[in-house]
Each structure stands twice: as C-alpha cells, then as structure tokens.
C-alpha cells in the first residue's frame, strides 16, 4: 500500500523513500520521456520530481490517492525542463536500441515506430492526456485533476487525439498494403 510507505517517508525514512522510487520510477520515466521527447530531460524531470516529493511529502494528505498527486508534480517538472532547456530536433532514441529491433519483425516495428512518431507530433494539449491515459491508465477524472482541466475538456482532447492517431494508423496500414 502506498499509504504505509508514504507515512514512513513522512517520518524521513530513506528506505521507504527508495521503495517508493522503485515502485514509481519505471512509469514515471516512461511518461516523462514521452512528454519531453528526450531521455535526458526526462531523467532530469523524474529526479526533480522525487526530490520535490520528498521535500513536500509533509503537505500530502494521506487520505487521498498518491498517484495523481505524484503525476501532477511530474507533469509540472516536465513542463519546467522543456521550458528551461533549448530544444533540439528530436531523433527517435529507440533507433539506438538494436537489441530490441532484432527481436521484432520489420513491419510491426515500423508500425509502432511510426505510431510513436505520430504521438510525438500531436500538440501538447492532446499528447499529454493521451500519454497519461495509455501509459498510466488514469481515468478521465484523474487526468483532469493532474492537468487542472475540467472533465469535459479532457474527454474532448482524448477523443480528438485518438482520432488523429487512428487516422495515422490507417495511413500506415495503407502504405503497407501499397508496398506489398
């Protein structure tokens, strides 16, 4: 249970904090990578998020769920690092991962690669809710709380973002058929 760990972290228990890190690290870094489009900036954002969590945990109300609170801080940190650092043209970082490539057949790899590129090309107002929903399984209500948006706005943005991605997928499929 998050609550038990958080109560210990509130007491300054570093072991409990490490446990919290192990529990949240993986999806926090995936989320930050998808938002910032940069592994290094994502690492910075995640690092600062955990430091802020540790520093502000005393103000966290343990009767409320921790995950949306954590991700609100994470999204803010992602926005901060993106604002702070001059951006470079994104080069798909998973191109470096030859070991992963080798395990996939070419078509499916290309399909997911192109779909990921399509996600990255979405404007932030669609992209960030999509990332929170599909990577983290947040509900529309939780996404609204994390991004301080009303639920109808979240629904609209998820719907439009998804429609754009569906069109991209259809184009990928058409190209695949054209090329045999």
């Amino acid at each position: 249970m998050d609550r038990d760990i958080i109560l210990k972290v509130k007491e300054g228990d570093r072991k409990a904090f490490e446990e919290l890190y192990n529990r949240y690290y993986s999806y926090a870094l995936r989320t930050a990578t998808a938002i910032t489009k940069s592994t290094q900036e994502a690492a910075d954002a995640v690092q600062e998020t955990f430091i802020r969590v540790y520093r502000n945990i005393y103000s966290f109300n343990t009767n409320r769920p921790f995950k949306p609170w954590f991700y609100r801080i994470l999204v803010n940190e992602c926005n901060r690092v993106m604002k702070d650092k001059s951006r470079v043209v994104f080069v798909s970082h998973y191109m470096e991962q030859d070991s992963i490539h080798a395990r996939k057949d070419d078509y499916h790899f290309e399909e997911y690669e192109e779909l990921y590129a399509a996600i990255e090309a979405l404007s932030d107002i669609y992209r960030i809710p999509i990332i929170l929903k599909y990577l983290n399984d947040f509900t529309e209500k939780e996404i609204g709380e994390i991004l301080s948006l009303n639920i109808n706005t979240v629904k609209t943005r998820l719907y439009r973002g998804r429609q754009k991605l569906k069109k991209s997928l259809e184009k990928i499929e058409e190209r695949r058929i054209e090329h045999g």
């Binding site: 870094l29 690492a43 995640v46 690092q47 103000s59 992963i100 999509i130 990332i131 301080s148």
Partner: protein, 252 residues
C-alpha cells in the same frame, strides 16, 4: 480498424517508444541520493514538522517581493506611486492560451494599498476594494443559477501559508464535495494551492486558493471563485493575471 485495436496499438507504441529510458534507473537514484544528502533533507523534513514556518522562507525568497527603497521621506505615497510607474508598464498586451486557442489580451497595471501590483484585463473584469480585501470581478451579470465569478485578494498578517492551508482545507471540506491541497506550486506563482468543487455539474461552484508568503510571516490569500464550465475560461484568465502578481514592499 476497431477501437480496441487502436487503443492496444497506442499503448504498445508508447511502451516500445519509451523502453530505452529505463536503463537510467541507477543514475537517477544516485543523483537523488546525492541531492538529499547534500541538503540534509532528512533534517529538513523533521524540521518542517516541528517548525513548518521555516520551509516558507524559501517561498518568500522567490515570491517576487520587490523592495522599493526611496530616500525622499516627504510625500512617500506619491513617491512610491511614481516609483511603481517607473518600474512597471502602465498597460501591455499579452498572449494567453484559452481552450487551445491563442488570444491577444490588453491588460492594465493596478496597484493595491495592500502592497502588490497585478495586471488586470479591464475589458472583462473590474478591480474594486471591499472590506479588507480587493476583488477582481467579472463585469457581466450572470444568471442566478451560475456562481459569481471573481478573484479576491487579502492579506493575513499573522498566519503563515501553511497554517492557513490547514485551516482553509478544513473549512472547504465542510462545504465542497472535492477538496484538494495541492501543496506548493510554481505556476502561476509560487504558493500553496487548494482546490475545491461542489460537484460535477457544468455550474458547480469551484474555488481555488493560492496562499503566498508575504515575506513577513504573513500571507496573501488569493481566492478564485467561478463555476466548473468556466475552468478553462475565467479560471485560466485569473491564473494568467497571477503570473504578474508582485508584492511591493514600501520602505522609507
């Protein structure tokens, strides 16, 4: 392509696309550890629990407190007013994003006797002085079934933001369905933020508090009041005004 398949493909693309980042786990943890050790944060947490006031010294230092020191002791009010005019543009144009659309907005400088300045969109809102507080209120008359739209600013000199956060959170819990203490935020300004809403209807009342350290052990209490459907409209407009909220310390 059916919807379920689209969902599965989006999920898989995000997982595959972010796999490479996971190898940094140890490096990130080591950096966090170093940072915690450097700042002896275990001590900070313990201190925060006993003497929470100290944490907000940090807020005060970054809360855009501007000390205006003037040598002329005569007519201090007029000199202060002139100094403020010299420091800040009396009016300016800003670009704000509302519902994904950019909008050019003209804003005017307003100075408060409480010791702060703020830029107000005077085409939509008027700033008025009420009993012990300032109100930036929406100019249009709304139907009776719609909560009033305004932002109140007052100064509580003898309570810290954290003390007030606890007190206000308890009061909100008595009246609102959803209450969140969001802790310290940096946007639109450095403050403790509280959020409360009395339901999920389009006209459900929403209040947002920003508790800003006044640099002297007290707090500027900023309360936004609007309705749920207006979260992306008035809510964003109020937040954008707060980006330029600056505390002015008048010193003789």
């Amino acid at each position: 392509m059916d919807d379920k398949m689209v969902d599965e493909k989006i999920k898989k693309a995000l997982i595959d696309g972010t796999d490479s980042a996971l190898g940094l786990k140890e490096d990130v943890w080591n950096n966090i550890q170093n940072n915690l050790d450097k700042h002896n944060m275990k001590g900070e947490i313990a201190l925060a629990k006993k003497k929470r006031k100290s944490l907000f010294v940090t807020i005060a230092s970054t809360a855009a407190v501007i000390a205006i020191v003037f040598a002329v002791s005569t007519e201090p009010g007029r000199a202060a007013a002139q100094k403020i005019k010299d420091l800040f543009l009396p009016e300016k144009d800003i670009v704000q994003e509302l519902e994904g659309q950019e909008e050019d907005t003209h804003v005017n400088l307003n100075e408060s006797e409480m010791g702060y300045i703020i830029y107000v969109d005077e085409s939509r809102y008027k700033m008025e002085k009420l009993d012990g507080r300032d109100r930036i209120a929406f100019k249009e008359e709304l139907d009776d079934n719609i909560p009033d739209v305004y932002m109140d600013i007052e100064q509580v000199r003898d309570s810290t933001p954290e003390e007030l956060a606890t007190q206000i959170e308890e009061e909100l819990k008595a009246d609102f369905e959803v209450v969140r203490n969001e802790g310290i935020v940096d946007e639109p300004l450095r403050a403790i933020r509280l959020y409360a809403r009395d339901g999920d209807e389009w006209n459900s009342k929403v209040v947002k508090y920003y508790l800003v350290n006044n640099g002297k052990g007290g707090t500027f209490v900023i309360k936004e009041h609007f309705f749920y459907e207006a979260s992306e409209g008035h809510g964003v407009r109020f937040d954008n005004m707060l980006k330029d909220f600056k505390i002015i310390e008048l010193a003789k």
